[in-house]
């Protein structure tokens, strides 16, 4: 009988075997990465790739941190912090209008903005590059804020509009009876009540922008203005063949998100899946 086959073989054997195979596939590159960062350049060439490092030596990390790494980090924190704050506020306001207000063009404008999710950002790259240059913002970390916020808005507005549509309309009406105009309704009722939606949007965009490469690559050029993904790029040029040092940079740039992930896996998984689960 089929069910007994399932019970005898699939569950007890196939499940752990497949589960562990994928675990190996997932972790192998990470293992290689972390292990290598503890090797010296010499060691990485001479010893076997999968051999354990000779000593738990942080020399590569020290070398990286002695460089401008912290400047990249500071720029990333600043750019992502400002961008995410603006994204949350601006998309929440727009979502409130789309979810809660009746005006001509509501559906049309919403559809247009949501369609923006499909647009490949690469088409904006050259015009934004020229525009940034003309505005005198080229090679400033602030040049990134505009493109970051704008390209994140469609999905954020989509997620928050869905969210705000779920908030009972009676709360809005109760607030009107309590003397709230549209702005008080938004700031005192809808914004605080959208907490879970806002945190999803914040997490999703924070991760996306933390890892963003192409705008940062095109709109900044100096070490002092670039963000972490560029640190990898720049160090790669600088260290050329010192694989352990470069992988130490990769490890260090990935660390903040992995630490954050250790504290809130559920929220981060949910945030990363946002948009796709609804759309």
């Amino acid at each position: 009988m089929a069910s007994s086959t399932t019970a005898r073989i699939v569950r007890p054997v196939a499940v752990p075997v497949l589960g562990l195979i994928w675990l190996a596939v997932t972790t192998m590159p990470f293992l290689f990465m972390v292990m290598t960062t503890f090797k010296t350049q010499q060691e990485s060439y001479s010893s076997s790739v999968w051999a354990l490092p000779e000593a738990l030596d942080f020399v590569n990390y020290r070398a990286v941190l002695a460089g401008p790494f912290l400047t990249y980090l500071k720029n990333s924190v600043m750019v992502v912090g400002i961008s995410v704050t603006l994204i949350v506020l601006i998309s929440a306001m727009a979502a409130f209008a789309f979810a809660r207000m009746r005006f001509r063009l509501n559906d049309a404008l919403f559809g247009l903005i949501v369609a923006g999710m499909i647009v490949p950002i690469h088409i904006t790259l050259v015009p934004i590059y020229l525009m940034t240059r003309d505005m005198g913002l080229y090679d400033s970390p602030f040049a990134l804020v505009g493109p970051y916020v704008a390209t994140s808005l469609p999905i954020s507005i989509f997620i928050l509009t869905e969210f705000m549509r779920q908030i009972p309309k009676e709360l809005e009406e109760a607030a009107r009876l309590d003397g709230c105009g549209p702005f008080a309704i938004f700031f005192k009722v809808f914004f605080p009540l959208s907490g879970p939606g806002l945190s999803t949007v914040a997490i999703y965009n924070a991760i996306m922008l933390w890892n963003e490469f192409i705008f940062a690559y095109v709109l900044t050029s100096s070490t002092s203005t670039r963000t972490l993904p560029l640190a990898i790029w720049d160090y790669q040029g600088q260290y050329s063949s010192n694989i352990p040092a470069i992988l130490a940079v990769v490890t260090l740039t990935s660390l903040p998100l992995i630490v954050a992930y250790a504290f809130g896996q559920e929220k981060i998984v949910k945030g990363m899946m946002a948009g796709s689960l609804k759309g």
């Binding site: 994928w22 590159p29 790739v49 999968w50 050259v126 020229l130 890892n211 490469f213 990769v250």
Partner: protein, 308 residues
């Protein structure tokens, strides 16, 4: 009653508030619309304008050349090769990722206590930036010092060791493998959510009707995932058409254009060859292709939806 009556006694307050309410949508939408107009809509239009120019991006020497760039594009085998690679990337993304993702979702669905920790670990690649992964896998694939060839050697398959990224036959496949490695867990979580939404009463009813777990899976749970599957395909295809970072970092589109994508080809034209005009033509063409495929895909998946 003091407060309320004084407020209404303040006169035309009601009328003023009403007109404020009329204006409110505009006020709430203004920041978003403004930013989208400046950083999305205007660049989009401008890109088409630039596509009519011959310009190196510096100074005033831009020359209007009409549709010359577009004519050049039509016969540019490099561009069409890149577009074809995008399509290969899209097709293989779907064909490789979906089945593995479904299998893993089912595995985790049955893994009991271990499923949480496995899911957390599986998800890790999604937190990495494409630059980080690109650099990591460049070394992972390295012909001399890369762990992949070392591993093949170790298990006695040394004959299969390759210059994965340096060989025109393997470069694109090697990159696709990394894309799949990173994104399979994403679709796995998507399918897990799909499986979790399968109503327990239905499988209970089916069991009472004598259906085996295998039957329930093939005849009920899998069809139940159809909607999720559709979403996954749309996301994965649109993602593949816009791919840039990882390939740019790993191969730069090489060797000999073997892993060139529309986006990397555009980038090379603009920022390496300083052909801003032609690069914008490539970008605009890429936009048109993405929009065309996306709308066909969305329409098709919708029709699919109403038929089923």
């Amino acid at each position: 009653m003091t407060d309320i009556s004084t407020r209404s006694a303040a006169g035309g307050a009601g009328g003023a508030a009403l007109s404020l309410r009329k204006l409110a949508p505009a006020v709430f939408l203004a920041p978003a619309v403004l930013l989208l107009a400046v950083y999305l809509l205007y660049p989009l239009v401008d890109s088409f304008r630039l596509s009519l120019l011959d310009w190196n991006g510096l100074g005033e020497n831009a020359r209007y050349v009409g549709l010359d760039n577009w004519k050049k594009l039509a016969t540019d085998t490099l561009f069409w090769k890149a577009a074809w690679n995008n399509i290969l990337l899209a097709v293989f993304s779907v064909v490789i990722q979906m089945p593995i993702a479904v299998v893993l979702a089912v595995v985790l669905d049955n893994a009991g206590k271990g499923s949480r920790i496995l899911k957390i670990l599986y998800f890790l690649p999604l937190l990495m930036s494409s630059v980080a992964l690109g650099v990591l896998f460049k070394y992972f694939y390295d012909v001399n010092f890369g762990p992949l060839n070392a591993l093949l050697d170790y298990v006695g398959l040394g004959a299969f060791a390759q210059d994965w990224l340096g060989d025109t036959r393997f470069a694109l496949g090697a990159v696709i493998a990394v894309v799949c490695w990173q994104y399979i867990p994403f679709y796995m979580v998507l399918f897990m959510a799909g499986l979790a939404s399968f109503p327990a009463e239905i499988s209970e009813a089916a069991k009472l009707d004598g259906a085996s777990e295998t039957t329930i899976f093939w005849k009920m749970k899998l069809p139940h995932l159809k909607g999720t599957f559709r979403t996954a395909v749309v996301l994965s295809v649109i993602g593949a058409l816009r791919y840039f970072d990882l390939i740019y970092v790993m191969t730069g589109g090489g060797p000999e254009g073997a892993s060139e994508l529309m986006a990397t080809y555009m980038y090379r034209n603009v920022f390496s060859s300083f052909q801003l005009g032609y690069g914008s033509t490539v970008a605009s063409a890429m936009f048109i292709i993405v929009i065309l495929i996306a709308s066909v895909l969305l329409r098709f998946s919708k029709r699919f939806e109403t038929e089923v």
